[in-house]
């Protein structure tokens, strides 16, 4: 049984889901195989370490530079897009963004939407919002389509259906579409192609995400392999792009290194099959392309992350997924365990700003801090450092003002006292010595149970003599010489 997460309400039960996932051999195998292969592909795509590091450094500089003048760039982008005939909208919350999107669809009396892959629309839970208002919103990326058909959420930001194998997809297509069962991946894809082609043709509106928004030219850049992104942004009469405010870059040339970093880090491809640069709706003399193009710029907590110079680095992210592919925790527990839109290391550092740290209190510590994520991140986000910062924010006194939304959720008075005691003990030599004396002499009285520690470990027993004692005796015997 693969995990099923309910579409709207998520419980913060990370541990429970992790245990379930760890016990699911099929799920673990699906992830393990996929992550191993993605890691190999990335490694092969960067055969020259110097080239890779130079490019990562450049990627970091471009994104950090863009963030250092973000408000100006957003205004420039808006102005250029407007000149090009694209309508720009701003939304602080997912509610606002959804209602903007719905408004545009309603104005066209639209009832059918096809959507290219967009993580921001997942953030918005746009499908549900529109469905409640009688608008069918169909995912058109093969992986997203499979996940939607099974009423699930993506388990990986690049490979949404990576938790499923061909047999599971075959069964799904059989149950939901009445197709004959087949484990031939080619045939399964052709079923998807046929079904979705009609939808592309009939759709009133196409929705997509944006990989990079270029301020200089007023251009939206999308990368993809399938062609569903091009279909969604070209075939329907209206195209609505939704994106986070951090996706803007100053110049067209900036996308050269960024696209290279993105596709090589994500899939190990030198470039995706399609790179689609959209700079405006259909012109009067053109014969296709949408008549209207809209861009919805979403905040949803990003300005909160931006306010903190350290956490701001989170907004460098180009959503390549490499950090999850290389994460030993993600590989074992899978994407659904995180219970949030963005799983894995990037999810751990971005979700607190969107949902609040108190909604995901276990996430910052669900990490061995092995550092793999930070090492592979193409824009050099110091993820382990940010995780440590979030661990601190997690235990801050909730009565004090919080720097991260929902901080202080793991604050515990007992823990606080324990550390106070520890501090006292270690800063007062006399106290320390009497403690040592007591602990070694009465070692048999040491508690047999020490909370969750003794669930998996044997209880610590103090030694017969402290190191201090032993060293002192040693020196005595040697007449004060160390050896």
């Amino acid at each position: 049984m693969s995990q099923r997460i309910p579409v709207t309400e998520l419980t913060p039960d990370f541990r429970g889901r992790a245990e379930e996932a760890l016990a699911d051999g099929q799920l673990r195998n699906n992830f393990r195989v996929a992550m191993d292969s993605l890691m190999t592909k990335r490694a092969n795509a960067f055969p020259d370490a110097d080239e890779r590091e130079g490019l990562r450094e450049l990627g970091n500089r471009i994104k950090a530079g863009a963030l250092s003048r973000l408000p100006d760039l957003l205004e420039q982008l808006e102005q250029k897009l407007t000149e090009n005939g694209v309508k720009v909208h701003w939304a602080e919350t997912v509610e606002e963004a959804n209602s903007l999107v719905h408004g545009i669809i309603e104005a066209r009396k639209g009832s059918q939407v096809v959507k290219g892959k967009s993580m921001v629309s997942e953030e918005m839970e746009m499908n549900d919002y529109l469905a409640e208002r009688g608008v069918e919103c169909l995912e058109s990326d093969m992986g997203e389509y499979i996940v939607q058909l099974d009423n699930e959420k993506p388990s990986h930001i690049i490979m949404p259906a990576i938790h499923k194998n061909a047999r599971q997809v075959s069964k799904l297509f059989h149950d939901k579409l009445g197709e004959p069962e087949t484990e031939d991946v080619n045939q399964l894809i052709q079923i998807g192609r046929r079904t979705l082609r009609r939808k592309f043709m009939e759709a009133d509106v196409g929705v997509s995400g944006v990989n990079f928004a270029i301020a200089e030219t007023g251009t939206l850049l999308l990368v993809e392999n399938e062609g569903n992104g091009r279909m969604s942004t070209t075939a329907p009469p209206v195209h609505i792009a939704v994106t986070g405010i951090e996706k803007v870059v100053p110049n067209l040339r900036d996308v050269v290194p960024l696209v290279s970093l993105l596709t090589r880090s994500a899939l190990g491809q030198p470039i995706t099959t399609y790179v689609n640069l959209i700079s405006g709706p259909r012109k009067p003399d053109e014969l296709d392309g949408p008549e209207e193009v809209h861009l919805v710029l979403l905040d949803n907590g990003r300005t909160g992350a931006f306010a903190d110079a350290q956490m701001r680095q989170t907004l460098n992210c180009i959503r390549c997924g490499a950090c999850m592919n290389h994460c030993p925790v993600y590989t074992r527990v899978g994407g659904h365990t995180y219970g949030e839109v963005y799983p894995g290391p990037i999810g751990k550092i971005i979700t607190p700003h969107m949902a609040g740290l108190d909604k995901v209190p276990d996430h910052p510590s669900a990490s061995s801090l092995c550092g793999a994520c930070g090492e592979v991140c193409p824009v050099k986000i110091p993820i382990p450092e940010l995780l440590q910062r979030l661990r601190q924010e997690n235990v801050k006194n909730p009565e004090q003002p919080q720097q991260v939304k929902g901080g202080g959720a793991k604050y515990s008075r007992t823990e606080r006292w324990i550390w106070r005691g520890w501090q006292m003990l270690n800063t007062r030599p006399a106290l320390y010595r009497s403690f040592l004396w007591a602990a070694t002499r009465f070692r048999v009285l040491a508690p047999k149970k020490a909370g969750s520690w003794t669930e998996n470990h044997s209880a610590p027993v103090p030694a017969r003599r402290s190191l201090h004692d032993l060293a002192a005796r040693h020196l005595d015997q040697n007449g004060g010489r160390p050896s």
Binding site: M142, N228, P257, S260, L287
Partner: protein
Amino acid sequence: MSARANILGKLRNSLAGTTPRPDEFDERLVTAPWRYAPEDRIDRLRSLMEAVHTEVHPCRSDNWPELVAELLNKRNLTNLLCAPSREHGRALQAYFEATEQKVELLAYDQPVEAWKEELFWNVEASLTGTLGGIAATGTLVLWPDRHEPRLMSLVPPVHIALLKASEIHDNLYDMMVAQDWAAGLPTNVLLVSGPSKTADIEQVLAYGAHGPRELIVLVLEDA
């Protein structure tokens, strides 16, 4: 207050007292590793494109229409969408007429709304020109226009693209600079590096996801 004002206000607040970082773009990083001798460009492009299931055929300005006819006949295709208003479209038409080819040549000469059903279900192949190619990544560059609209290279299951050898650039950066793209882009620019594909099921690569199943590149070596 509008969402726009709030967002920009918050961002400006957070930046108060800071100075923007200087532009530190270093073009060597995106050009130096991706330079080729002129005679190697075609090979590089070809091997990368073939690696992703693309057929690449070197040919000449005077024999490519013949090759197109051959490729279509081999696949038993009955129609081809091409632009009679473009030079290559006319050349193809002339050849097909002169040799009495059975393949029907279709033109994209009306707004898509007028023939969407036919375009989506009945057009078997298309032929378009390209603005050029990129050796570094094995990529074709397309600037769709009214003669060769956006969907022409996407909807038909087989896409044949003409690429002039002289227009193959080393890398994307060089091409952008040489043609001054930053000065203004058309409504849509496409970089195409193979037929449509997906690896969304078990990471098994399958071609023909939503776009063309086959991409065929004719490299005009004398052009």
